[in-house]
Amino acid sequence: MAAIDTSLAPPTTDANLRRRRLATHLGIFLALMLTWETAARLGWTNPLFMPQPSQILNSFWVIFVGTGNVWRHLYVTLTEVFAGFIAGSVLGVGLAIIVGLNPLVRRFLQPYVIVLEATPRIAVAPLIIAALGFGFQSKIAIVMLVCFFAPFVNTLAGMLSVNRDGIELFRSIGASKWQTFRKLMLPEALPTVMAGLRLAMASALSGALVAEFISANEGMMVLIDRYTGSLNMPSAFASLLTLTALGFLIFKGMELLDEFIVFWRHESRLAAASRKRARAWEAAR
């Protein structure tokens, strides 16, 4: 049971059923592509806006292998995404822990957090570029800003929602404040923190692309912009689909990370985790 359930499909238990469904999906997809291809070849669609699937496929070859154009831009965008995400979430989680542990700080900081949270982050982007210039730092700063709030708000919420019985239990067994934080509050907040990190990561890519759109001379958004400007639509589509794949990989990666870190919220992981703990216990004897 994840904090945020983002899966759209109902769970399937039967492997056979799953295989049949996959075949159906593949069939429909191929039929769709075939119709598209045929329509384009017969001149029913405007090739300027709707390139044929075969052309897009060809462009994939060109931009990844032929000219290899995409790699540099992909590298730039990915660097912005990950650097911004790490900076933003470390700051968000760290600040939330400090604020969560200090009621006084919390009280004075709260109005500012509310005001900042109500401000659309993307609207701040031009100001950041004005302050930091057109270079790399401003892109990372924008992604960082986009990635800050979800982890901050979620970590704070997670830390403040620790139940009273848990706190009383730790007090009664003579646990120190630090032990209570490390052994109770932090792990208990982890599922919510992870949900915040997943939200942040989901918006990091968009943040980087918007930053590039405003002003940049490198990055995936620049690449798409250039291809579209020169009416090279197949390559623009291939670049877009590359971003789709990237977005999917990021999502899946975060999902795996979530299953690994907050394994106790994933029923499918419990049996294996239990066996692992049993082995570790025996080994320590």
Binding site: N163, D165, E168, W264, E267, R275
Partner: protein
Amino acid sequence: MQATTWQTQTQAAETVISGREVGKSFGGGSVVALEGASFDVPGGSFVSLVGPSGCGKSTLLRLIAGLIERSSGHLNVHGRPVTGPHTDVGLMFQRATLLEWRTAVENVLLPVEVLRKPTRADRERAVELLRLVGLRDFVFAFPSQLSGGMQQRVALARLLMTGADILLLDEPFGALDEFTRERLNLELMRIVAEVKATTLFVTHNIGEAIFLADQVMVMTPRPGRLARIVDVPFARPRQPELQLTPEFNALVAEVRGILGTH
């Protein structure tokens, strides 16, 4: 200090917990949660605290545990005044309050872990306690893999792991179904007798309170008050059939009468 005179008296009578006019109010005295309660709990005895919501029974338990500070009166545990949380007592709540990311045995080990690095003997003791509460086959299960009743068994094992000789149980089986609760009550009696602990058991079920206890503290609400302490004379070990006898029901009627007249 005024308390010294009765301190020596109570020690002679082997009293483990003793309260004199213990009171607790919140909001600068505007809300009285507990009005001057006086009582002595003999070592090794099982005492039930029974009464409706708001009678101060949970408040009294938390006062004894040192989790909240009393507003008035004297309260001693093992002859020492309660000034804050102390490890002479162990607590158990209606919710098992287990750490979800730890296996059953790692949860049981927690009270030792916060005090020192667990030794091999500690680890063996934790497994042994899980056996005592009937969870021999669930040592490495995570809480979410256990039923509500089993989770409370883990909580009980963790409570025993503290080594505290006073067990404070706040409606420990209140969230469980009737059958599970009855079975766990029977096991609880067996286990506390085995470890020779002094037990305070909060409940709002009169029958349960009498069946388990040597003494029943009957409490009434608004303001929370200790109305009377009723002795339960039945011999141990007790069987569930005891609850069908006229003597038992007479006692239930007596407690119900005390609660009804207030």
